[in-house]
Amino acid sequence: MRYQDEFRDAELVRKLAARIQETAQHPWVIMEVCGGQTHSIMQHGIDQLLPETIELVHGPGCPVCVTPLELIDKALAIAALPNVVFCSFGDMLRVPGSSTDLLKLRSQGAQVKIVYSPLDAVRIAQENPHLQVVFFAIGFETTAPVNASAVLYAQKLGLQNFSLLVSQVTVPAAMHAILGSPHNRVQGFLAAGHVCTIMGYHQYHAISQKYHVPIVVTGFEPLDILQGIFLAAAQLERGSSLVENAYPRLVSEQGNIPAQKMIDAVFEPCDRNWRGIGMIPASGLKLREEYEFFNAENRFDVSSISTRESDICISGLILQGLRKPPQCAAYGTLCTPQHPLGATMVSSEGTCAAYYRYTSKEG
């Protein structure tokens, strides 16, 4: 397959891995931010090709994983209402709330639909004017433009029966939170290529300068990821902390400006809770006042719902790179993909699920 096989070339992978081995003379801790990268690392066994000096930790870049339990409970409360069609990306369906999940609700008669795009939800709203259609708008800056466009489109159509339950989060704020933590171990970052495709990487210069960490914009195929690791390790070895772009076939410094304008038109920054991490200031997006009409949290009375996270689950520490899944007492025993305790076990992009699927269960 074009644009894929070239980046999975076994011989080039072997050469690049050898260069990393030569370069990384000292132990370094590098975090890949994006869940899609974690998935790719596990899927291809990229971590097994790295020298012992490189430790990868898996960052909080899975939007399903970081959606707080409270918001999931709100989603479940809305989805259970009669005359509601609740639309979501597929992997959100299995995420357990306090007492149930969307798949179970569906089996009990709730109208829960998997969609690939919020625009599908708009279409469902258009075709079913007597039903309230709610889209669970989760994601990082990658999903924000299309979610914004769904709002704009629904407004243009004059739809009265479409709304969003918003859980948009932003990457730079999470990087600040991780690097600013007194327990931080991360010395270098692979920035999420797809987020940078939208947002560019100009905002990372301030982060790399403030915390003295190299940040390498990185793609998702094996060669992309190894190239990102190589550049980060080379910078660490020579003591530099620059922003580099290892994904230039998609990412530019300024990013996709029309998409950014669309996000800006519909959303504004807000404080957000991250599952397991807690509140991070200015780390999310919410609907601007002029689009409040489309806010499902207003349309349905869910303000009274407030939920505490699980005591056993250490997904917060895992999302921050402070623990690895096998270090959790519940991993593989109380907590499995069949019976997940926390969202990192639920999503196929979640760190615990990726570990469970792709490595020996004994850890």
């Binding site: 072997r14 899927q43 066994g45 971590d47 597929g90 992997d91 690939y116 699927r357």
Partner: protein
Amino acid sequence: MTSSEYPPMQAPVCPLPYNDYETIVMAHGSGGALSLDLIKKVFLPCFSNPALLAGNDFAEVPGFVHGRVVVSTDAHIVSPLFFPGGDIGRLSVSGTVNDLAVSGGIPLCLTASFVLEEGLKISTLEKIVKSMADTSLEAGVPIIAGDTKVVERGKADGIFISTSGVAVIGARRAIVGSNAQPGDAVIVSGTLGDHGLAVLTARGELGLSADIRSDVAPLNNLIRKVTEFTDQIHVMRDPTRGGVATTLNEIAQQSHVGITLFEDQIPVHPAVRSACELLGFDPLYVANEGKVIIILPANLAHEVLSILQHEPYGQNARLIGQVQADSPGTVHLKTSIGGTRVLSMLSGELLPRIC
């Protein structure tokens, strides 16, 4: 008023039973005249064989059966009913024929039960029954008994078909899942994931159009070529729901062996691979309906591969892995870039990924 001003009398006044429906109505399941009518007009013209035409409550299995017999049964539901490469009719015949054939036996006959939803178009039913008849003819396995029930509209998804069948394995033992041996080769008869992706794209919910056809097919004739060549097959199974990864996990557990697959040997149609990448699916977990996994001593692998590749349903057969004593119960994948990962069983529903 003269008598000529009256309209001609349309006697008798009671409505006559009307039996020329375009859709299934509840009365088609009544067991009465309409049921009989449906059987005569739709089923018998397609499934004509002596056992069925005898019209008894049972049917005699054709011929004398010597030796061991295996049976299998399978219920078939699919949405949409028609998809590129097949339909529920072809699926319902192939499914049971293949389940029987992987025992190493010769499928003799099938039975079929239909649950029809009120409102199903008779023309749709006719197309499905015709497809069953064609597939049955292709496989050489007659459908010798059947039953039809009708449920109210909304209580089924158009049509559900359950088929059962009998195969004779004669003096040999059936090929079972617990007999994989360290050193064995793992062969798959062709590209993976075609059926699952064909059905998914046919639903039209993905905004994705792709030239992907289901592989649904009866494999008994293909399998027979192999079983005639060798009686050394250790395990044979058709990797349907859950895909090859799930099927091989079952075998690894039943046989207490480890299995290693080589990613760069696994045949996947380019369109299926692209669609899987886009949708966040792994073709190793996607359903097949016309593929068989054969596990046998490595020294026979190349000849069997050559036999398969000369058959229409086996052209893309590949040797994809090997069995070892290490890590019993576990399936590993050697990735094309030189890493290794565990292939676990499919957990829960196959859900598309975000991003």
